[in-house]
């Protein structure tokens, strides 16, 4: 069989997997060796991992989509603009993430070099998930990604909290993977294929609003519901969210940074491929309960966030409510909805990166900080000790809350606009009200940063300039994209148009 150039598509994944294996061998032979006296390799491995990720993002960037076949590897990998864009986003964000967490790993004495290897593994899983075009590939990619997440959550072996978080994440994740497999097997039993392209070819003639009188599709919808529920488990939407605050709170901060910021986009890509690409005719079936779930998750994310005293669980609830907003624009069923979804998720990743990055970089000067869990009170009067950091933090929070001088306003506005265009007036109205409520806890953090009535604030270790430049780069994007959002709108519009 002659393999043509246009069929070889996933260079970046192949490169990443081979280099992970080489990195493992390198680390094992150097580090676990009596003669080398168990060298600590994690800094050099971290730099190598950054290099590998830069190269694989470069490989993605060089993939010319118009030369490649649309589907490759027996129709199981799709090379479209959606996977291209999301893979680049994930790669770039992970590079900066690795650069930011370096100091934290030193402080927390996470000395095994495998931590970084596992992060690379999860990036590989996310890349595969972005380009998966059938249910088996998607399942394997989800497994690769979530198994590495369980390990990341449980990585700090000497802390019971971390072990508990890992165990909890593992049990619930395994449960949701089981649901995915159950749903996928039902879908396979009914349709006779696992390929998204086949689904599209089989069900293209079902237009929305059809009553399917001549074809019973109950069992298919049953299986589809299970697949969606398992993906909602991974996204931590409301009836399935109970693991999220615990896991975020108890696992090491660098791990929960990664859980919160990076993987959501890949799961949304899979959701888009299932609900829009293959089963768009069934939109009347999945739409209503998706709207209910999004409504509930915005509700719980806004109200339960008011009670939180720890910054990490606060961010967990905030991420739950953001997933709710994303699901609103997901359920509209229009091209504008997908465009707004992408706008929102890109800004969500950037702003989440800023907040978690600042959170991980501020290190208190006392023994208490070794515990790694920060109360909101630990940030009191950050204005006095580090003026620019406080300024950046507060403006990022404004953007997350959706206040006008930042780009967060535009994307939230876009989500509600797409909901109103799809005549979901009540959903839009109530979600705007909930969004006002959730603004309260963002502004409370700003009040703690600036206007606390205490004479003595906290002292922090100085932050390295290189790290702060990264944060400031992302912060600059907020203002730049507010002044000139064309770039954001252009790429998201291209994704949403080329997707169908």
């Amino acid at each position: 069989m002659i393999l043509q150039i246009k069929e070889i598509s996933i260079f970046s994944e192949i490169f990443l997997s081979i280099s992970i294996i080489f990195l493992t061998l390198h680390g094992v032979f150097l580090s676990y060796n009596k003669f080398n006296k168990f060298l600590l390799l994690q800094n050099s491995i971290l730099s190598l991992a950054v290099l590998i990720l830069v190269m694989s993002s470069f490989l993605i960037f060089n993939e010319h989509l118009f030369i490649l076949d649309y589907l490759s590897f027996n129709y199981s990998i799709s090379n479209d603009y959606l996977s291209f864009l999301t893979k680049i986003l994930i790669g770039v964000i992970t590079i900066f993430f690795l650069l930011i967490i370096e100091q934290y790993l030193l402080d927390q004495k996470i000395n095994h070099f495998e931590y970084i290897l596992i992060i690379l593994y999860s990036v590989l899983g996310l890349f595969l998930l972005c380009s998966a075009n059938d249910l088996i590939t998607a399942y394997l990619a989800i497994e690769l990604q979530s198994l590495s997440f369980y390990l990341l959550a449980a990585f700090k072996k000497n802390s019971t909290f971390s072990i508990e978080a890992g165990l909890k994440y593992f049990i619930l994740g395994a449960f949701s993977s089981g649901l995915f497999l159950f749903g996928a097997s039902i879908v396979y039993g009914v349709v006779g294929s696992i390929n998204f392209d086949d689904f599209k070819d089989l069900f293209f003639w079902l237009s929305p609003g059809n009553k399917f009188e001549f074809l019973q599709t109950n069992l298919l919808q049953f299986g589809l519901t299970f697949i969606l529920i398992s993906l909602f488990f991974k996204l931590a939407l409301v009836p399935f969210h109970l693991w999220a605050p615990d896991v975020y709170e108890k696992s090491p901060t660098s791990s929960s940074f990664f859980f919160a910021v990076v993987p959501k986009i890949a799961i949304f890509v899979l959701l888009l491929r299932i609900c829009y690409y293959s089963f768009f005719g069934f939109i009347d079936c999945w739409r209503y309960y998706i709207i209910i779930i999004s409504f509930l998750s915005v509700l719980v994310g806004s109200f339960a966030g008011l009670e939180q005293r720890k910054l990490k669980s606060l961010m967990a609830y905030s991420s739950i409510s953001h997933m709710g907003y994303l699901l609103i624009s997901f359920s509209t069923g229009s091209i504008e909805g997908i465009q707004m979804l992408f706008n929102y998720i890109i800004i969500y990743m950037i702003s989440g990166f800023c907040i978690w990055g600042i959170f991980i970089l501020t290190r208190l000067k006392n023994n208490y900080s070794k515990k790694g869990n920060k109360d909101l009170g630990d940030l009191t009067l950050l204005k006095k000790s580090n003026k620019i950091l406080a300024f950046v933090f507060s403006l990022t929070l404004f953007s997350v809350a959706g206040l006008p001088p930042m780009v967060g306003f535009f994307v939230k506005f876009g989500v509600f606009l797409s909901a109103i265009e799809a005549s979901m007036y009540f959903v839009a109205l109530f979600n705007i009200l909930f969004s006002v409520i959730s603004t309260f806890y963002y502004i409370r953090i700003i009040k703690i940063l600036y206007f606390e009535k205490i004479l003595v604030g906290k002292l922090y270790y100085p932050i390295k300039t290189e790290k702060f430049i990264i944060i400031f780069l992302f912060f600059y994007l907020f203002i730049f994209l507010f002044i000139n959002p064309t770039f954001l709108y252009l790429i998201s519009y291209k994704v949403s148009l080329l997707f169908f």
């Binding site: 996933i10 997997s17 992970i20 294996i21 493992t24 676990y32 168990f38 590897f73 027996n74 199981s76 990998i77 095994h112 495998e114 290897l117 596992i118 593994y121 590989l124 595969l128 088996i136 590939t137 394997l140 990619a141 497994e143 690769l144 198994l147 590495s148 369980y150 390990l151 449980a154 990585f155 072996k157 009914v190 001549f214 074809l215 019973q216 109950n218 069992l219 049953f222």
Partner: protein, 221 residues
């Protein structure tokens, strides 16, 4: 199953055929009931060795069921992998680890009513949908006409291992490699989470302790 096979006009009334499928049906019901019962026992039995043995029983019954469906290769793999490796591994874990006996039987029934309720609702719903869907062939005389195909002409005489090999190594190469990567990741994770590289607390086998263990006081869950 029986009624379905009787629809075949050639074999109508032929007794050996009917008896064969009767026999296969009853055997498959028998083995699937054994699977369900042993799964229940795995959960509800207090002694963990007994529950592991019930796990082995459920695997063996599943492989028997696969033999009935003529998937010999997968059935043998089931026996070798699950019964041979995993169950023995479980037994080793149970025998070696000195986990203190904790009696959790009281808490077991705390959530039982709610779980029972949810499970029954789920079961009824799935039964309803499945029975609704397979009552009649929804494609029959509708849009997609089923044309008659003699499947025996279409079959190649390939053995099962050949077919699985062809599928794995040509159609699903990528997925096969990803599964290998997942196993690699799991090995790394297991080593990290369990191994302790300091010299102070090396784990040694104390044969006295192992020999003095008895069947009664192995950990209860």
């Amino acid at each position: 199953m029986v009624e379905h096979w009787n629809h075949n006009p050639k074999d109508k009334g032929s007794k050996p055929f009917f008896i064969k499928f009767m026999f296969l049906n009853s055997l498959s019901y028998f083995f699937s009931n054994i699977i369900i019962l042993s799964c229940f026992m795995v959960i509800f039995v207090n002694n963990s060795i007994l529950s592991t043995l019930f796990l082995v029983l459920s695997f063996i019954a599943a492989s028997c069921l696969l033999f009935l469906f003529e998937c010999e290769f997968i059935a043998l793999m089931f026996v070798i992998i699950y019964v041979g490796a995993i169950a023995v591994l479980f037994l080793f874990v149970v025998m070696m680890l000195n986990v203190k006996t904790i009696n959790l039987t009281k808490n077991n029934f705390k959530y039982l009513p709610f779980a029972f309720f949810v499970g029954v609702v789920f079961l009824i719903e799935s039964f309803l949908i499945i029975s609704q869907n397979f009552k009649n062939n929804s494609y029959y005389q509708k849009i997609f006409l089923n044309s008659y195909k003699n499947w025996y002409d279409k079959l190649d005489s390939l053995t099962e291992i050949e077919i699985i090999g062809q599928i794995i190594y040509t159609h699903y190469v990528l997925q096969f490699l990803v599964a290998g990567l997942i196993l690699f990741l799991v090995v790394i994770g297991a080593v990290i989470l369990t191994a302790d590289f300091s010299y102070k607390n090396l784990k040694n086998q104390s044969s006295y302790k192992q020999l003095s263990r008895k069947y009664q006081n192995v950990l209860l869950i």
